[in-house]
């Protein structure tokens, strides 16, 4: 699937999520399924929560106890393959990387899009972080309906 279309299976996606109950705070979900020579997620993490080790081809492993969901790895990942997610009683919050201008603005409503590129819902833009250190990859916090925990991946402007 991933090899042919670029879309991971639901099983692959779920394998990157922590056990139920841990998402009361944002946690990093690393959608990096392939051995590629790359380790900025691990070296950029100030909390020593992402491990790759000596061989930089090893896919990252997140220590969810150390991860505080800060989002530094999200905009540091050259593959834009990391996001964070946090579960609330009636909604989810995601922090996703975004590299298209004009960036969204706080308070706007955008489409929510799945890994297949389909629009699945509408989402509220809660926060847009973009300073010099983000180096043009904005970190966007969005509010998403609970049912889309394993589907939502990015946003698209409503036209």
């Amino acid at each position: 699937m991933l090899n042919k279309t670029g879309v991971p299976t639901l099983e692959e996606i779920k394998s990157r999520f922590p056990k139920k109950g841990l998402l009361i705070k944002h946690k990093a979900i690393t959608e990096c399924y392939e051995e590629i020579p790359c380790n900025p997620c691990a070296t950029s993490c100030p909390f020593n929560a992402i491990h790759i080790g000596e061989d930089i081809n090893t896919p990252p492993k997140v220590d969810f106890n150390n991860c505080v969901g800060c989002g530094i790895c999200v905009y540091s990942c050259p593959g834009l393959a990391i996001f964070t997610v946090e579960e609330h009683s009636d909604h989810l919050r995601f922090k996703i990387p975004f590299e298209f201008v004009p960036y969204p603005k706080q308070g706007e409503t955008w489409h929510g899009v799945n890994r297949n590129g389909d629009i699945i819902t509408n989402v509220d833009i809660l926060k847009v972080s973009i300073t010099e250190k983000y180096d043009k990859t904005a970190l966007i916090e969005v509010k998403v309906d609970k049912e889309f925990i394993h589907d939502f991946v990015t946003i698209r402007r409503i036209t």
Partner: protein, 366 residues
């Protein structure tokens, strides 16, 4: 007439050449970089994406900013490194002399050692009407778009799903161009899957086992005829369909640019896994012609991260041969080699490793 002489000449001011000059300068060797383009940086100057690799190869820094770092390293050593831009090496001779063309002036320059860091050029694809306006190499599109700010068209089809094809497709989307499809002749996506996923979530389909049969158009590209391929890479009759598009990007790999090395009679070998015809080299990156070294894609197509490290390593080795041993030689030598091993140790590096073994005769090919 006096001929200018340099202890070290480096042909090519891309990642490999700039890195070689830096380490040579640190070792105490003055060098001349000869660059064909009007600016230094090679292909990095159009790479707007963040790089992979580790911190030592500037991972997560955008290519355009890596170019700035490497160029700055060279400019910091202005008394050690001379740069000639807009200058093409047109001749290389056995008595350590080369001819350069700058504007309309030919000049001969001599050297003790030479590093050829000329990089690679894009491969093209044979199909009917492949010379219609609107058909580009993907690298050319990247230059047009990211260096000169010119869009190639409104709608694009990309041929090839290697990292260049995937990355340029993403950058076309960022520039507001509609990327209709990515076609891949192989049964699976060629580049990193994270790049493929980025495109897919933006709504771009990658069609594996598909390729172009012909381009259609009167004065410029209007549409293309696409066909499915079977497992023997033959077109499947009856599977054809048309896509209307005004631009087509060809991204089917790179070939090392070793023309100068062929010219001087260095032993060359065709190694498919390294991209084509490459010079036979020893562990010092020296070719079969004494004092002529190579670094970067010219001796095997890889990522720019590897070209940077190969440049450092070659700069270190060539300086030592010239009698200028870097004060930190042993540590750097081990470090560069372990960086290269690390970059090449995953599934994507296997091709390069096997290609290098084949080149050194350590591996037999059927």
């Amino acid at each position: 007439m006096f001929m200018k002489h340099f202890r070290l000449i480096i042909i090519g001011g891309g990642p490999a050449g700039l890195s070689a000059a830096k380490i040579a300068a640190e070792s105490g060797v003055k060098s001349l970089i000869i660059e064909r383009d009007f600016k230094l940086g090679g292909q990095l100057v159009k790479q707007t994406h963040m790089f992979f690799g580790s911190e030592k190869q500037y991972a997560k820094t955008r290519g355009i900013n890596i170019a700035k770092i490497l160029i700055n390293d060279v400019e910091q050593n202005i008394n050690m490194i001379t740069v000639m831009k807009n200058t093409t090496v047109v001749g290389l001779y056995e008595d350590n002399v080369l001819t350069v063309l700058q504007g309309e002036t030919y000049t001969k320059i001599s050297f003790d050692s030479l590093v050829v860091a000329t990089g690679a050029s894009e491969k093209f694809l044979a199909f009917e009407n492949n010379d219609l306006p609107g058909i580009y190499g993907a690298g050319a599109v990247q230059t047009l778009m990211n260096v000169h700010g010119v869009l190639p068209g409104e709608k694009v089809v990309m041929i090839g799903s290697g990292n260049i094809g995937l990355i340029v497709s993403y950058q076309l989307l960022q520039a507001g161009v509609n990327v209709l499809k990515v076609l891949e002749a192989a049964p699976t996506i060629g580049g990193y899957k994270v790049h493929a996923s980025k495109l897919k979530r933006l709504g771009v389909d990658i069609l594996t086992n598909h390729s172009i049969k012909k381009a259609i158009g009167k004065d410029k590209l209007e549409k293309i005829l696409v066909s499915e391929l079977d497992d023997k890479w033959e077109f499947i009759e009856g599977s054809e369909f048309e896509i209307e598009t005004d631009a087509l990007c060809i991204s089917v790999g790179l070939s090392p640019m070793g023309n100068l090395l062929s010219m001087i009679g260095a032993e060359m070998k065709y190694i498919s896994k390294l991209g084509g015809l490459v010079p036979v080299i020893d562990h010092h990156h020296e070719t079969t012609i004494k004092n002529i070294y190579v670094a970067g894609d010219v001796c095997g197509v890889e990522e720019a991260s590897s070209a940077i490290v190969e440049g450092y390593l070659t700069g270190l080795l060539v300086s030592e041969r010239l009698g200028f041993r870097h004060k930190d030689f042993d540590n750097l030598y081990d470090d560069y080699n372990s960086q290269l091993d690390n970059l090449r140790s995953g599934p994507f590096g296997v091709r390069t490793l096997e290609g290098l073994q084949e080149l050194r005769g350590e591996r037999n090919v059927k």
